[in-house]
Symmetry: C2
């Protein structure tokens, strides 16, 4: 425990807002490797993430073998082809043009799972909302994503996957559940506008509607 209160400056807050503004879901990566010490430093963001009951249910798997990567890529391609079939006319044409994963080139692939069977935390806070364990994993991924971007490192979250098939193909434990498949590497280009907005798929709302009760 550290004594005293940690405060943050206006300059830090301004840079933090820029960090949120410049974080991107990256799908176009350079193939040069990511330094292991740098990756490890970014992964430290998991250690301070909020988790329900201190359950820390995140399970991070590095996908390095050719066979595991090929299985993941085939999984994405099949799910993406099925998704394409669900759109009609102009929307299908637009979908087909999108680049939706950087799996072919990203040097680092991470499968991030949630262990719903963990005893850590003794179930505190997850009795009526067991999904809180998965939400804890998402919070940790979000912190990792931002930490990576402070170094200019890009992260892309691939969700166009059959999650059960991926866990089976990678022979991961039955109690684990896929939360995110992350591609990590140096982005080919930086931008402060989401790629889907640049491609005309949809646009950020730009304001937060609020309800009241």
């Amino acid at each position: 425990m550290t004594c005293g209160v940690r405060t943050f400056s206006d300059a830090f807050r301004s840079d933090f807002a820029a960090l949120l503004h410049w974080r991107r879901d990256v799908r176009a990566f350079r193939t040069d490797p990511v330094d292991e010490a740098l990756l490890s430093e970014c992964l430290d963001a998991f250690l301070t993430a909020p988790s329900v009951g201190l359950s820390e249910p995140w399970r991070v798997v590095r996908v390095t073998s050719g066979s595991a990567r090929a299985a993941a890529l085939a999984n994405f391609r099949a799910a993406n082809a099925e998704a394409l079939e669900s759109y009609e006319e102009e929307r299908a044409t637009a979908y087909a043009r999108l680049k939706l994963s950087g799996m072919e080139r990203a040097p680092v692939h991470l499968v991030v799972c949630c262990d719903d069977s963990t005893a850590k935390g003794s179930g505190l806070g997850a009795r009526t909302m067991p999904e809180m364990r998965r939400y804890s994993v998402v919070a940790a991924i979000t912190q990792f994503w931002l930490a990576a971007r402070t170094h200019g490192l890009g992260v892309g979250w691939v969700s166009i996957l059959d999650p059960e098939r991926l866990l089976r193909d990678l022979a991961l434990p039955d109690a684990w559940r896929l939360v995110g498949y992350l591609c990590v590497g140096w982005p080919e280009a930086e931008d402060d506008t989401p790629e889907l907005a640049r491609a005309g798929w949809d646009a950020p709302r730009g304001h937060l509607p609020l309800w009241e009760r």
Copy 2:
């Protein structure tokens, strides 16, 4: 779109690591109000959060009326009493001693939901993993949590609730799903160690185990 690349300094990265380290789940709040402009600035963190297909499925509800707050507090108390019954002996004694919500005193209460029926984003990325919409809401909450802490503002996420009953009591749309009930306000005290760790409930692991495939 802004031209050029935004980079971050070593000093910023060091402060960012401190931000992650000092973020806490706060349950002990002062009752003095939170300035509306400050709250609004923190809520801007939702606008830049990653969301699947740019669906932006977050729905933020301010809980201000006495009746809505009373319903939420009664909901927490009932769920917490049931949770207590699920523990035995020493663990039950330890659970009973924990302070698990700041709902009685926090000046700002937010119900953050996910609209699973949203048309925004046209379902992109959420076909095989529809939970990605809820995960997008969690990412936005995480960004808000960190933004609040840059100002010294505390956030506490209450999950010991019957989520369906809360949505019904607050007459929120059927397609919405509760992701998080957030208490927001000035913390009574700051600390860099999780309250559950200080109370001896569990301890952070302190390292990230990695698997490989």
